[in-house]
Symmetry: C2
Subunit: 350 residues, 2 copies
DNA sequence: ATGAAAGCGCTAACAG
DNA sequence: CTGTTAGCGCTTTCAT
């Protein structure tokens, strides 16, 4: 029964015109307090909801935010997107937006989906995840002045980003992990990460490197960084073999990893490693698998990140021109961004 | 540039009327082959996409499927919804539908969201997950003749379901797990599940029980079922303590669990248990945590399940009346359903 | 097989 | 502050 109630029904029941009802909803300040209250009451009583399609036709705004959902690699870190999505949906609802899902095999296919979506459902904005160097998606959207926010820094254009973004400070996370190990007395702390070139991976490695280097300059040179570093593809197996190799050649007493997948593998290697003291391991992402394995891990505030994304978008959508002038000569057109600090979830492994 | 192209632009560019373009898209059989081809070509060239809002206003169909996304308990099995969602989004796109997300704290709140959504975005259908006994959501939707499909059996009304559903045969999964253990020579196989009353849990327990009982009647009574059964809340810790208890009092050589969370806990207990042969453990859901822990687990075909949901919905939406006659006296109004068999992913733990 | 007219529900402009 | 008019882009009659 909730449907079929139109603005005309409300107007009739309240004894006012349709526009007064519309104004009550869209420009409350224009309606007399008393009338407003009365209309609101009738709306409530009839269970009226503005038809979104009709509203969209008139205003051109769909109040839809689109985001891609992918299968997520080995699944270990898949739950990261899951939590982010939940937060996004929840915050978006508060701001009057809904989340629309789509899939795409790669960036090119994603752009094709943009075209499709923009012609049909016309989402007001996109949320980009897994941004990387020379991301064609951001340039495509930027060229067309389409509103979007990236969850992930615009790695190729820092620090003068030309679009709003939200990210978690990976370096600060691995720094916290490294400091935690230092505080526990460790001095030889290895790092297992991904090959150079991925923004996320480089960032996470940097946090370890800088902390470790700082220690070196304090104590007078602790740091043969390269010997304690391994760069491999993500995965449990590669994490295990990298850890084995590291333990054999560099004798670290602790390992910081760029992901939980790597850390889980490293943990296996650590457990089968003989030594007076167990080798400590710290992962990244605080996935369910980390919980299950008792793995200390860097935790990303995903609900907050999602909320920040919605916030930035809502703001940009209220001020359409802020974003639609990519080449405004006079203004630096610096875009808002949010960099959130992660926290360390401490468990048995470190 | 993909937007702002209307059906009028296409008509003009193709030298036909707007209706011919519309017909080409919606009733191709009505248009002359040659004209149809020409129009299609122009559509392609201009990158035209039918404005969904306008279409919805006219037809009343949004081509939107709504589904709830929740934070997912301890997160271990959260990835199940994740994979299902991905499959749903992908299949839905093939059929011309998009997936709209929403959250809700509980069933009552979810119904409130139905009302909101039905009045605003007007999704064509809902996909229900985590169905349970006396689910107020199904009755609410049923009463109003709203199209939906449940991922999960209508536990309170089997076998004459009054709505379409898709599910994975949990009992067959635990049966396969139990048979696998029997084949490996195990004879005392315990089960750690949830307290009676949850459809899913009862189903999974039944698969173990019936297989084990069948063995008993063959060999002449192997089965003191109750001694080998523990029912606890889901979670790693409760799984571990239940397993410890079971190992101490009933001396099983293998354990089948109703979830990966329970199994992960059981695995810990099993590893610290002394015996000539390691205690085998099998979980359920084949989550990333199971991969990481080398846990053998029952794998649900989630992409297939999602595809089946979309299929059932698409069919129901083409035949609106099939669903809208909950009380049709003459017809049993039996609804279509799909029960998919899971598979066993074998790893080190069993 | 194709063209003309109407209207889905809403809100942005105005007029009162 | 409230009411009237118009039209967003599409599909569904109904004529031709």
């Amino acid at each position: 029964m909730a449907d079929k109630v139109t603005i005309t029904d409300v107007a009739r029941a309240a004894g006012v015109s349709r526009q007064t009802v519309s104004n009550t909803l869209n420009s409350p300040e224009v309606v007399r307090e008393e009338t407003r209250r009365h209309v609101l009451e009738v709306i409530e009583r009839l269970g009226y909801r503005a038809n979104q399609a009709a509203r969209q036709m008139r205003t051109g705004r769909s109040r839809l935010i689109a985001i891609r959902i992918d299968p997520g690699g080995d699944g270990i870190s898949g739950s990261v997107l899951d939590r982010f999505l939940h937060g996004l949906t929840e915050t978006a609802a508060h701001e009057g937006y809904r989340v629309l899902l789509y899939t795409a095999a790669d960036d090119r296919a994603e752009i094709a989906t943009y075209e499709d979506l923009l012609g049909s459902y016309k989402p007001d904005a996109f949320v980009l995840t897994a941004t990387h160097h020379d991301d064609i998606r951001t340039s495509w959207l930027l060229e067309r002045g389409l509103p979007f926010v990236a969850f992930g820094r615009p790695w190729s254009h820092l620090p003068d980003a030309r679009h709003p973004w939200v990210d978690v400070d990976g370096a600060s996370g691995t720094e916290a992990a490294t400091r935690h190990l230092l505080a526990a007395g460790h001095r030889r702390i290895g790092f297992i990460g991904w090959p150079s070139g991925s923004g996320v991976g480089d960032d996470r490695r940097a946090g370890w490197a800088r902390t470790f280097t700082a220690l070196g300059s304090e104590t007078g040179g602790a740091g043969d960084l390269d010997a304690l570093l391994r760069s491999v593809e993500d995965g449990i197996e590669s994490g295990e073999s990298a850890a084995r190799d590291l333990l054999r050649t560099a004798a670290p007493t602790a390992l910081v990893c760029a992901s939980d997948s790597l850390a889980l593998g490293a943990l296996q290697a650590a457990r089968s490693h003989e030594g007076e003291r167990p080798v400590a391991v710290i992962g990244f992402d605080d996935t369910p698998a980390a919980t299950a394995a008792g793995l200390t891990s860097v935790h990303q505030p995903l609900a907050e990140a999602a909320a920040a994304c919605v916030d930035l978008l809502a703001r940009a959508l209220e001020n359409p021109d802020a974003m639609r002038s990519p080449d405004a000569e006079g203004s630096p057109s610096e875009q808002a961004h949010v960099l959130l600090p992660p926290s360390l979830t401490i468990r048995q492994s470190a």
